[in-house]
Point group: C2
Chain length 350, copies 2
């Protein structure tokens, strides 16, 4: 900038005025400076600007992992919304430990705000976060008793949708397969459970903490693991928890993730139990390829990209008006009905 100023024979301030379009400046001076800047290939240093203005245009994003399609899609939405207003995403993937340290490192970089999808359930984490008074929007996971912005799927509605669907298809003895490794289900699963139960009063909760082992194996394994994908790991975990299956006492299962739903189907079929004729199975997420599985999987499609978009927009809004009251935005999910829960269709099509 000094360079430009010298070449144009004016002061740095004047250069700034020309570049920013702010302040009073003579038309011919402005044009001359602009020409010289253009020719010199001048580009403003965003660090310096951020330092002075204490607005960087950086948004910190914390997600638990982007290998599954879930957060990847949300992230895509976030990035899109931010790119449209010339903001950038500073991405961190929290891998279990030291989540708060990650957040600190983002704040050190002077991010304007945070979008957080945390798997942490330490209240301490959230309290420290909010004490920082940084504009922040949570996604997906609702933290009970936390007064903060949230954008998520309406999981309750999802539970209702699936329950009604299963009921309409004639199922009567539903099981709700919760797979968390927490002492107590996380908010979203809890919501699904409530929605599910509001339709099926007799729903039974199968609660096994095997998600933990999957995640551990996943962390240790990665690409290097001998032939083990996430799907295979889910299968392994399920088998360990549910065997023997000879007497499966339910006629339908709501697995919380498509991965587990497919593992469940596999397991049932291996025991000669037909899906969907004997037992219907539904999942949640609508991953790629669930329409190509055998049988194709009934599931819930979450408005993932939309969650990202809304979260970003909410955050941007909060940057303008810091005193906006906190709000929770619950986006409606959609039922994707396929054969895994349709005994009639399965009869026709062998």
């Amino acid at each position: 900038m000094d360079e430009i100023a010298r070449r144009a024979g004016v002061s740095k301030t004047t250069v700034y005025r020309a570049l920013s379009g702010q302040g009073r400046i003579g038309e011919d001076t402005r044009r001359r400076v602009l020409d010289i800047a253009e020719e010199a290939g001048y580009r403003p240093n965003r660090l310096a600007r951020g330092l002075r203005r204490s607005r960087t245009g950086l948004i910190g994003v914390v997600v638990p992992g982007i290998e599954g399609q879930f957060y990847a899609r949300v992230l895509e939405g976030i990035e899109k919304a931010l790119q449209d207003v010339d903001h950038r995403v500073l991405l961190t993937v929290s891998r279990g430990e030291q989540e708060y340290e990650l957040v600190e490192s983002l704040l050190d970089m002077q991010v304007d705000g945070l979008i957080v999808a945390s798997e942490s359930d330490s209240p301490d984490f959230y309290e420290r976060l909010l004490r920082r008074r940084v504009p922040i929007v949570f996604i997906d996971r609702e933290v009970p008793g936390l007064h903060a912005d949230l954008v998520a799927t309406d999981h309750f509605a999802g539970g209702v949708l699936l329950a009604e669907h299963l009921r309409d298809k004639g199922y009567r003895k539903p099981a709700f397969l919760s797979v968390t490794d927490r002492p107590r289900p996380i908010g979203s699963i809890e919501d699904r459970w409530c929605g599910f139960r509001s339709v099926f009063r007799n729903a039974c909760l199968l609660h096994h903490p095997f998600m933990g082992s999957v995640k551990r194996l996943l962390r240790e394994g990665g690409d290097a693991a001998p032939a083990e994908t996430f799907s295979e790991l889910c299968l392994l975990a399920l088998r360990g928890a549910l065997e023997p299956l000879a007497t499966f006492p339910y006629d339908c299962v709501f697995a919380q993730y498509d991965h587990f739903a497919l593992a469940m189907i596999h397991l049932l079929q291996a025991h000669g139990i037909r899906v969907p004729q004997d037992v219907g199975v539904v999942g949640f997420d609508d991953h790629d390829f669930t329409e190509y599985t055998e049988p194709p999987l009934t599931t819930i499609r979450q408005p993932l990209r939309e969650i990202g978009l809304q979260a970003a927009q909410r955050l941007l809004r909060r940057l303008e008006e810091p005193d906006l009251p906190a709000a929770a935005l619950r986006l409606p999910p959609r039922l994707v009905a396929r054969r895994s829960s349709d005994p009639l269709a399965a009869m026709e099509q062998p």
Copy 2:
């Protein structure tokens, strides 16, 4: 920092010496300053540091999209490797247009280096990029004639693996289904084709530009699209290009992405052609759930996370030694053999 200095009754320089551990400083002064800083909850401003040092610890990443699992996994690897050395990922998703503008915006933020997976095939883009003399590592896509670091799967080897596999399974009339929307296949697909042909001299290249329409639909659609997933779009595109199929003159097909492989299977089956008995189908990528499809899909697993890790490490190394000669790192893929290319196994298991 001034604050700390005042409280400790020393100069800012001394505070810096205590905090950074550099320079000469008395043991007791050091301890005192550290205590005060701790108590005040002092955290260094990374912007200011970056401004002064012209090293920010930021790495710019440009990917064409993270909704598919491909770049998401690579990204996860990148983030992991960088997090380990306290660097951060500045993420941008290029959506067709103005890729170079995105890169410029990253440079404005003073990133230390770039990791780029570009879909662009304008040589101009790459030239401008290299003229900037920023440390840069390309991933996945090889740009012919470009002298720069590259980390990618060994696509040639992948082509060989699949060809040998198909040959061993008894197939003799192979088709190579290229789906690009380019006038000429991109480097990676080209490599696979060469590898494939080095085994199957009589392989036939089916080249249709329908990937373009899929991407366009995808961009327009997003979550909002009426019931259309990426998979469904692929199916649509394929159908348009290959119908009528009554006389499919090949006995096996190498589709370039799992999505298209499954769409192909669907299409074949809809015409009464059995997979794998009449026609074998193999894909590339090993997405989640390809083991649950009917039939389970034979495919190639790319070392995605490893690509990310290696790319990040390569970049970090180049930051230390800017004059390192450019190199291409090709990571070996792995064959995942399943039923979609195994007529014998299919005989046994109806």
